[in-house]
């Protein structure tokens, strides 16, 4: 059974059909469900995007980043500040937030990029806390302190204002699908392979001439940039940003999305985000117990599937030969 499934997964025609079916579901979904579920699906998209962005850092390169909410917050606040102060349209700020967050990541991770494993993990936690506390302390009166910033505009495309849950749903999912496609392409590029090499054996990678430092920085810059995009979308949807949205638990949840799904696996990230987003919905009747159950569930998932629910298949010589179609 498992073998047939693996064989089917390997077939390009089957894979194409599966992707087409998934895209069809995404398109049809808002027209067959209620407003509530469309909203849930928006947040699912947002968390998928955050998961994909962390997957670049944690999944592809194996850099323990437990402060990813810092980049998300940076993107959201960039959008919020530039929009409310200078009236720059929110959609224009989408690439601006991405670039600003990427620059921020480059600035703050350059001095710490050489740290390994647990040390990097603890520094990124500290980074997340520094960003949150700074936003909370309102330096120079630009972040609005604990209340945050409100009155952010809706995104506009020409005359069309993105306002309803369905419109937001499509905005986020178009971006998610584009990102997923680009990241899948990246996996098979020189950069993607070098990233995986670093994850599996950093010393060997370095010995083979891989520029470890630059590639690690690149992963942080790219991942943070995507988190900046998620921040922009979040600010546009909520119309208000405040520091309490970017607490450590959020970083933990994004971390979980990647690890539950499977490190370095794009479909795994979708699945991880689905599990994490649906969890509170499924356990709504047990509202107050759901985080308790969530904690226990994490332990259980790591017990039964330490590599995640949908780990990335390793490319073997045989699988590569099949894919290229050569005997």
């Amino acid at each position: 059974m498992r073998d047939t499934l693996a064989k089917l997964q390997g077939k390009p025609s089957v894979r194409r059909a599966a992707v087409a079916a998934a895209v069809a579901v995404v398109i049809v979904f808002p027209f067959v469900t209620s407003r509530y579920w469309v909203d849930v699906a928006f947040y699912l998209g947002l968390y998928t995007l955050l998961g994909l962005s962390l997957n670049v850092i944690l999944g592809e390169v194996g850099l323990f980043n437990l402060g990813h909410a810092a980049f998300w917050a940076f993107g959201a606040y960039t959008t919020a500040i530039l929009n409310t102060r200078f009236d720059i349209p929110v959609l224009v700020l989408l690439p601006v937030s991405a670039l600003a967050t990427a620059g921020f990541a480059w600035l703050v991770t350059s001095p710490i990029i050489h740290l390994r494993g647990d040390y990097l993990c603890i520094v990124t936690i500290a980074l997340g806390e520094i960003v949150r506390l700074t936003l909370n302390n309102d330096p120079g009166g630009i972040t609005g302190g604990p209340n945050g910033i409100f009155g952010i505009d809706r995104p506009r495309i020409g005359p069309l204002v993105i306002n309803t849950p369905t419109e937001f749903y499509f905005l986020v999912w178009v971006i998610v699908i584009l990102c997923a496609w680009a990241l899948l392409r990246l996996q098979n590029s020189r950069i993607g392979r070098a990233w995986n090499y670093i994850r599996e054996d950093e010393l060997a990678a370095e010995a083979m001439g891989v520029d470890v430092r630059s590639l690690k920085l690149l992963a942080f810059i790219l991942g943070a940039g995507l988190a900046g995009v998620a921040g922009n979308l979040y600010a546009a949807k909520m119309m208000v940003v405040s520091p309490e949205s970017f607490v450590f638990l959020e970083s933990t949840i994004i971390f979980m999305i990647v690890l539950i799904g499977g490190m370095g696996s794009v479909p795994g990230t979708f699945l991880g985000a689905l599990v994490v987003s649906l969890f509170p919905e499924l356990f709504r009747p047990l509202a107050q117990y759901r985080m308790l159950i969530f904690g226990a569930a994490l332990v259980a998932v790591m017990y039964f599937r330490p590599a995640g629910i949908w780990p990335r298949r390793r490319a073997t010589f045989r699988s590569l030969r099949k894919e290229t179609g050569k005997a």
Partner: protein
């Protein structure tokens, strides 16, 4: 000058809380190479257990043993219960997952942390709980303008005694040598006849117990405890661990005290709102310039 001494003493007190918690992190990290994210929450659990115990029995106990006696009993009760919780946690959430690698263990630790935090919230409620004034000693010494509470003095003295005892245990006894040997090289230590299980049981008993004692002290000192306080204290104690050199027992003590003093001085002279930011900036600076900590020796990475 008075402010300086006052802040210094406050810093020492907070620092000894960090030192207690940091020891738990450091011991577990030394043996398991795992950041025990749930440790801060065990500390909070200790605070709550002692709180409930005191609410339930403080009046009866105090009439027999006096207030101090009742507090000691409460600390012992909290330490034992949290040590049991620590052992159960190791058995359920770490031992089965540990062989799968580092990342699953980290996720499991985060899971346990979320679990304990929410457990506390469900049992004791999401609001602050206050240690009642009837079980907090109120006396103080007045030296000129300087006012030092009896509680502060007792906390500092017991910190010195407990930390001194632990230092002796780890650095001077045969069992301590076994713990240090395991920390350095688990396999070779096992070949030398050291019972690895015993060492693990030790670190998961002593670490949580010390954390629980710190929890009770924090409750008495600030009188206010919340279910989420484990996170902040835990994180800062971890910074203290790194400050002193991760896996280094005297280092954790020194790191805790230094961090407490730094924090109190910064809060007293510069800004209270930014004190946590400074703590985390110090962490980053330490890791950039002295990644092995202040007391840590340089260790070459094994290939």
């Amino acid at each position: 000058m008075i402010t300086f001494i006052q802040q210094f003493l406050n810093g020492l007190t907070i620092g000894s809380f960090y030192a207690f918690i940091a020891l738990g992190y450091s011991l577990v990290y030394a043996i398991m190479k795992l950041i025990n994210f749930a440790h801060g929450d065990l500390f909070a659990l200790g605070s709550y257990v002692a709180y409930s115990f005191l609410v339930w029995s403080a009046a009866a106990l105090a009439s027999v043993l006096g207030l101090w006696g009742a507090l000691v009993v409460a600390m012992v009760v909290a330490a034992i219960s949290v040590a049991i919780a620590g052992l159960v946690m190791e058995r359920v959430a770490y031992r089965p997952i540990y062989p799968a690698g580092r990342l699953p263990a980290v996720v499991s630790a985060l899971g346990v942390s979320i679990f304990i935090e929410n457990f506390i919230m469900l049992v004791w409620g999401p609001r602050y709980q206050a240690y009642r004034s009837s079980f907090v000693p109120v006396g103080y010494f007045q030296i000129g303008e300087l006012r030092i509470s009896v509680l502060q003095v007792v906390i500092l003295i017991s910190a010195v005694i407990l930390l001194g005892f632990l230092y002796w245990l780890i650095e001077r006894t045969t069992f301590g040598a076994a713990v240090r040997a395991t920390a350095q090289d688990r396999e070779t230590a096992a070949l030398m006849g050291i019972d690895f299980r015993k060492v693990i049981r030790f670190v998961f008993t002593v670490g949580p117990a010390l954390g629980a004692i710190a929890g009770v002290m924090v409750g008495l000192y600030y009188r206010q405890i919340s279910f989420s306080m484990g996170w902040v204290y835990g994180l800062k104690a971890f910074v203290a661990t790194i400050l002193g050199g991760i896996g280094n027992i005297p280092g954790a003590m020194v790191g805790g005290i230094l961090l407490g003093i730094l924090e109190a001085m910064f809060a007293g002279y510069v800004s209270a709102a930014w004190k946590d930011v400074i703590v985390f900036l110090v962490l980053m600076l330490i890791l950039i310039f002295r990644p092995r900590g202040l007391l840590g020796e340089k260790v070459a990475e094994k290939v």
